[in-house]
């Protein structure tokens, strides 16, 4: 029971309380770049969930069974980034060949997230917080869900603000950043969820 509660805490903590984009600034690039429409934002979010969950699992296994056993923990940055980049490329090839419908849905977004900071960030956080493999995967999944929530909300706001009368200098990116800042304030509300 204790284990389930802990996983649940990781789930809520990583997705809402310390949201990956809005409080940790990881994965900002797709967050700002692919949030023009709700549909593409959701597709991107789906691809991120897929990649981060998989990558945190693989990185966790490699860290636990390869780096720790060999005493090479200091190589984590190099190993993680290569593993993640290779993994995503492999996933892309695999999906293209065997699961074409999924590839159609996620394929476009995969190259965009190959090694975005969020993927590497999650792998490093898992090590830093000494999460085991299962907790690491949970953390990865939760972080990615947080990303999905944030990017879909931002896309919704952007679809609305598109027709607003924004001062010339604030058109485009500045107004999006201000929306993101306001969302970030709103997400502070979740910090009450700590228990």
């Amino acid at each position: 029971m204790e284990g389930v509660k802990e996983l649940l805490m990781i789930l809520i903590g990583s997705s809402l309380v310390s949201n990956v984009v809005l409080s940790q600034f990881l994965g900002l690039c797709p967050f700002l770049g692919v949030s023009k429409k709700i549909k593409t934002a959701a597709g991107m979010g789906g691809a991120v969930i897929f990649v981060i969950t998989l990558a945190s699992g693989v990185a966790g296994i490699i860290y636990r069974f390869l780096l720790v056993t060999l005493g090479l923990e200091y190589l984590q940055t190099i190993v993680f980034i290569l593993v993640i980049a290779a993994l995503v490329q492999f996933v892309e090839m695999f999906l293209k060949k065997y699961m074409h419908s999924l590839y159609e849905a996620l394929g476009v977004y995969l190259p965009l997230i190959t090694t975005n900071c969020a993927v590497l960030g999650v792998a490093l956080t898992n090590v830093q917080k000494k999460y085991g493999i299962w907790k690491g995967i949970t953390n990865g999944f939760a972080t990615a869900v947080g990303f999905l929530i944030a990017i879909v909300i931002l896309a919704g706001i952007r679809e609305k603000t598109e027709y607003n009368d924004v001062p010339e200098a604030f058109q485009g990116m500045p107004i999006v950043l201000i929306s993101a800042g306001l969302m970030s304030i709103a997400f502070f509300g979740f910090s009450g969820l700590h228990w």
């Binding site: 600034f25 490329q89 965009l112 190959t114 490093l124 485009g172 990116m173």
Partner: protein
């Protein structure tokens, strides 16, 4: 990111000025935004992050430039990443040993220097095509430009958010700190102001008929524009892809 034609062996000074002013990675190119927002809660953290990035940038540019004739074109990106990650790890270990406080404050953003757009971008667009000395100074210039920008953003946020600068109180005692500026939303607002200023300058330049030298490039605008030098690193040749390159 279009391939630019570079003159043979730019002078070191020209490279320094270029990185600090003309192609300032933060203010002009808008690259490397994740660390820019995350660590600029104080001027000191901004400076620390900037200098750590500078060290990595200088050394990786130097080594990549020295090896540019040896690294095969098709595997250059993995090669760059390994070189960069090596220096990042070295910097991380050094900071852990000698600057534990700063290391604590910057946390995992130190290892995340690996995916900083600026470093891979410079490797790809400059160091891989230019001789070692000018590449080294290109890295130094870019790094210093990044450090200056981060320190400035950090200073603004620290002064507004805590009334202090480099831990010394600078605001009058009646000043009530606007806490939000050292929290996450403050980072977004400061960056929004920054891009708005940049936009305003661009609009003014356009109106006065001057050719604007600022490319709206960088991660802030669109991932795909970063191309291979962006936050999204591909391990293989993208020439066959649909990207701009």
């Amino acid at each position: 990111m279009s391939e630019k034609e570079h003159k043979k062996a730019d002078s070191p000074l020209e490279r320094l000025v270029n990185g600090l002013v003309k192609e300032n990675p933060t203010f002009v190119l808008m690259l490397g935004m994740c660390p820019t927002l995350a660590v600029t809660t104080s001027a000191k953290n901004g400076l620390g992050m900037g200098l750590a990035t500078t060290a990595v940038l200088m050394l990786s540019n130097l080594i990549i430039s020295l090896l540019r004739k040896i690294i095969p074109d098709r595997v250059r990106i993995p090669a760059f990443i390994v070189i960069i990650a090596t220096f990042v790890t070295a910097v991380q270990l050094l900071m852990e040993a000698y600057l534990p406080d700063l290391n604590q404050a910057l946390g995992m953003y130190i290892p995340l220097i690996v995916v900083n757009c600026i470093i891979l971008g410079r490797a790809e667009s400059y160091a891989y095509h230019n001789p070692p000395i000018s590449s080294f100074f290109d890295g130094l210039g870019m790094g210093l430009g990044f450090s200056v920008a981060l320190t400035m953003i950090g200073a603004v946020r620290e002064v507004l958010g805590t009334g202090k600068l480099f831990d010394h109180t600078v605001m009058p005692s009646g000043y009530i700190p606007i806490n939000i500026f050292i929290l996450a939303p403050g980072a977004f607002f400061v960056l929004a102001a920054l891009t708005a200023i940049q936009n305003a300058i661009r609009i003014r330049m356009k109106n006065s008929g001057k050719k604007n030298g600022m490319e709206p490039a960088g991660c802030v605008h669109d991932c795909s524009q970063c191309g291979i030098g962006g936050c999204s690193v591909r391990l293989y040749d993208t020439n066959e892809g649909k990207g701009e390159r």
